[in-house]
């Protein structure tokens, strides 16, 4: 397969996943911002949404400190000057898809193309809460359809594997960011850990990754920070956990290696990250510091991204 094709598929999947993550962040932020202050609601939520999305710096250049609901929504969802806005994610995904039409199934292409056409109906200026909710569920549905179309219709060959690797690298990055930002930015120093503020913020993390129900099924007790971290970092049952992402990455990279008859540094790196996750216990993670642990992970995950690129995509 052409390296450029593999590259396009890899990034196509990443951008579709990113759009989904942004929609979830906005969803949860809006929910939290509506809570009374005593339960964790504050305007601070919109600023934290920017941090979670990794766009705080860029936002500052455009809007300064004016992190109002309207500004943040329009920046994360529509702003052309934000390269990772939902609109840009869809635009880039479609441009990538057009260049690799031949490697996509008709169902995948139609999902992306019709989402792109549909996107034109939403404008940033005059969006009511209801319209925003509709928009966000449209984005999430698009990602689901794309993912489902890929899963159900693609040949199981390198095209499929590269797009899966892209999706899981992006997903791991998103999960790690969500965890990190919530833990360190949201909790004011004076707030008692385990208090109502803490409770709602940890719950919001679970909601943002559609894992609140799963949490109750898995732990059968009330929401506690270390359990949330355990679920999202180490629990292999949880499809967004770092462990689950790396099980998938390792598996698909191995499929590629078997197909091409050659293992390389990407496979080795993915395996060593997976091993490290497997050897971690959540108590130790908290003892050495959740932030440091996640930071290391994000760096490793990025390194995997560039290793995959060097080995296959250039």
């Amino acid at each position: 397969m052409l390296s450029r094709t593999a590259d396009n598929l890899y990034w196509l999947a990443r951008y579709m996943e990113r759009a989904d993550c942004l929609a979830r962040i906005l969803d949860v932020t809006q929910r939290l911002a509506q809570l009374p202050a005593a339960y964790g609601g504050s305007t601070n939520e919109w600023r934290s949404a920017l941090l979670t999305a990794g766009c705080a710096e860029l936002f500052k250049q455009v809007h300064g400190d004016d992190a109002t609901e309207q500004n943040v929504i329009s920046f994360l969802a529509f702003a052309p000057e934000n390269p990772s806005s939902i609109r840009n994610c869809f635009e880039i995904a479609r441009t990538n898809a057009r260049s690799v039409r031949t490697a996509l199934t008709i169902e995948m292409w139609e999902t992306i193309n019709s989402a792109w056409l549909e996107l034109k109906r939403y404008s940033t200026k005059s969006m009511t809460r209801e319209e925003l909710a509709r928009f966000l569920s449209f984005v999430k549905e698009t990602s689901l359809r794309f993912d489902g179309a890929a899963y159900r219709t693609m040949l199981r060959n390198d095209a499929f594997w590269f797009s899966r690797v892209g999706m899981y690298v992006e997903r791991a990055d998103n999960t790690a960011r969500i965890l990190d930002v919530k833990y360190h930015v949201l909790l004011p120093d004076s707030e008692h850990v385990g208090g109502p503020l803490d409770y709602f913020q940890w719950t919001s993390i679970l909601r943002s990754v559609s894992a609140l129900t799963s949490f109750h099924w898995v732990y059968r007790e009330s929401v506690k920070p270390w359990l949330v971290a355990d679920l999202l970092i180490l629990n292999a049952q949880m499809p967004r956990s770092l462990t689950s992402c790396y099980q998938n990455i390792t598996r698909y990279l191995d499929d590629i290696a078997a197909y091409y008859g050659r293992q390389g540094s990407a496979q080795r790196l993915a395996r060593s990250t997976l091993t490290r996750l497997g050897n971690s216990r959540i108590d130790d993670v908290f003892q050495t510091g959740l932030h440091e642990y996640i930071d290391d992970f994000v760096v490793e995950n990025n390194r995997l991204g560039s290793t995959v690129a060097e080995q296959y995509l250039l």
């Binding site: 397969m1 052409l2 094709t5 296959y312």
Partner: protein, 473 residues
């Protein structure tokens, strides 16, 4: 202008044989059903993204070519005569180009004037004395023909460089079969869907002798911003070959490779949809970032086949066109089976003075023009336009030819007011391999949707139709 020949209805109101079942069907089908199917067709086209871009129009980055749901029908007999003529013509084009880049017998015989070759901006001196695989140059030709009565087809233009439109021929048929299965049950329509198989067989037959028995074929595109990008990706998909851009290829020791996830892979045949100028920045335009540095040296070394060959433009401009009947006689010793439209070459003094005296009756075209741009349709033009062309002609007569306005045939077409006759042309595609010539029965019918208009180009509001060749039932 005289009344045009209508392909469905004779002057006395009777229906021509090929259209019997269609005419009956059109009479019975309620207009809102037609309208509904038309919208459905448009929806499908839009959703699968069959679009083209119009240069210089930022609002029209991706536009749909209007599709007319009423098919255009030819009988088996009509097609048989037409395809023999197309094969003859393509054969002559190939022999002419080979001659131009080698012995130049035709110039020495005084049949084609020398300056038409040497002064031609698309003449490629790099190709002089250069051997190309299997001595073939035009592997994929699109020959535009028009019809003026029940017997006569004229060739309007030869496209010997990178003719496009074949994806519409295939998609139009696909859509028609989806929307109107009942029509296909009643008519025995020759299939066209094997075009891509025929194309692949043709491309493989053209591989250089250094290739393995299963040569690697690719389609080379300028990229997603090209107006015909959809077609490039469509063809690569149907051929089952890689769609590459220049940056996906590189040349080492005069061999072309593509960059793949498994390392470099040798390429034997490049179906390029990129103009000569952009192919290789080392040989042609140095500012081209679309091409592949060193491609021409690999080509000259005989390690790769380019389809079509470099330099085929010398055979398809409108000035050379006027010599095609002589070219056919010279190389094949046969009479041309398809007529040429009578053409005045403004480069010749007596022709020029005739043209200047009859501007209001003639169509004047630029020798290197295409897409219906830069032409004058005398009978439709106002005084100012005529005077503008008079000045242009006087200033640079060699740049123009003139032809009588032909009464192009019309076909029933579904427009705002209902079903009405509109002018059509036809572009069949001729494939020339080292083994044989292949032509699938049909082609792309283009239709001028404006009443009375003769301009069928998609960049100027033309539409397309499915083209049927009926088998003997």
């Amino acid at each position: 202008m005289s009344v045009a020949f209508d392909e469905m209805t004779n002057a006395d109101g009777s229906i021509r044989a090929a259209y019997t079942t269609l005419a009956r069907w059109l009479k019975d089908v309620p207009p809102d059903v037609l309208d509904y199917r038309r919208k459905e067709a448009e929806f499908i086209f839009r959703r699968i993204g069959i679009t083209f871009a119009v240069y210089g129009d930022s609002d029209a980055q991706e536009r749909l070519i209007p599709f007319d749901i009423i098919p255009r029908i030819l009988t088996n007999g009509e097609w048989g005569r037409l395809s023999k003529g197309l094969e003859q013509r393509t054969k002559a084009l190939n022999l002419y180009i080979k001659d131009v880049y080698s012995k130049r017998d035709i110039l020495r015989a005084g049949i084609v004037p020398e300056d038409l070759v040497y002064q031609n901006p698309v003449f490629r001196p790099e190709m002089n004395g250069q051997k190309v695989p299997h001595d073939l140059y035009v592997h994929i030709a699109g020959i535009d023909v028009v019809r003026v009565d029940s017997e006569t087809f004229y060739v309007l233009e030869d496209n010997a460089r990178t003719p496009s439109g074949v994806s519409y021929m295939l998609e139009n048929r696909e859509i028609m079969m989806r929307l109107f299965p009942e029509l296909f049950a009643e008519n025995r329509v020759a299939p066209v869907e094997n075009y891509t198989d025929e194309l692949l067989a043709t491309l493989k037959s053209l591989a250089p002798t250094t290739a393995t028995s299963d040569p690697v074929v690719v389609v080379l595109t300028p990229g997603i911003f090209n107006s015909a990008y959809y077609e490039h990706s469509f063809l690569a998909d149907k051929l089952g070959v890689e769609l590459v851009e220049g940056r996906d290829l590189f040349v080492r020791n005069d061999v072309v490779y593509m960059r793949t996830t498994e390392g470099p892979r040798r390429v034997d045949v490049i179906y390029r949809r990129l103009d000569d100028d952009f192919l290789d920045p080392l040989a042609f335009r140095p500012d081209s970032s679309l091409g592949v540095p060193g491609l021409m040296s690999a080509y000259n070394a005989g390690n790769v086949t380019l389809t079509n060959a470099v330099g085929t433009g010398v055979a398809d401009d409108k000035a050379v066109y006027s010599y095609m009947p002589e070219i056919i006689r010279f190389y094949l010793g046969e009479e041309p089976l398809l007529k040429n439209v009578p053409t005045w070459r403004c480069r010749e003094a007596d022709h020029l003075s005739y043209v200047l005296d009859h501007l209001n009756e003639l169509v004047v075209k630029e020798v290197h023009g295409s897409g219906g741009y830069g032409m004058l349709i005398g009978p439709r033009a106002d005084k100012a336009q005529i005077e503008l062309f008079r000045a242009k002609l006087k200033q640079d007569p060699t740049n123009f030819i003139a032809q009588p306005t032909l009464a192009l045939s019309t076909c029933p077409t579904f427009v705002e007011e209902g079903i009405a006759p509109r002018h059509v042309d036809l572009r069949p595609f001729v494939l020339t391999g080292s083994d044989r010539t292949r032509i699938v029965p049909g082609g792309l019918t283009r239709v001028a949707l404006q009443e009375g208009s003769l301009v069928v180009n998609s960049s100027q509001g033309g539409g397309t139709k499915d083209t049927w060749v009926l088998e003997e039932s």
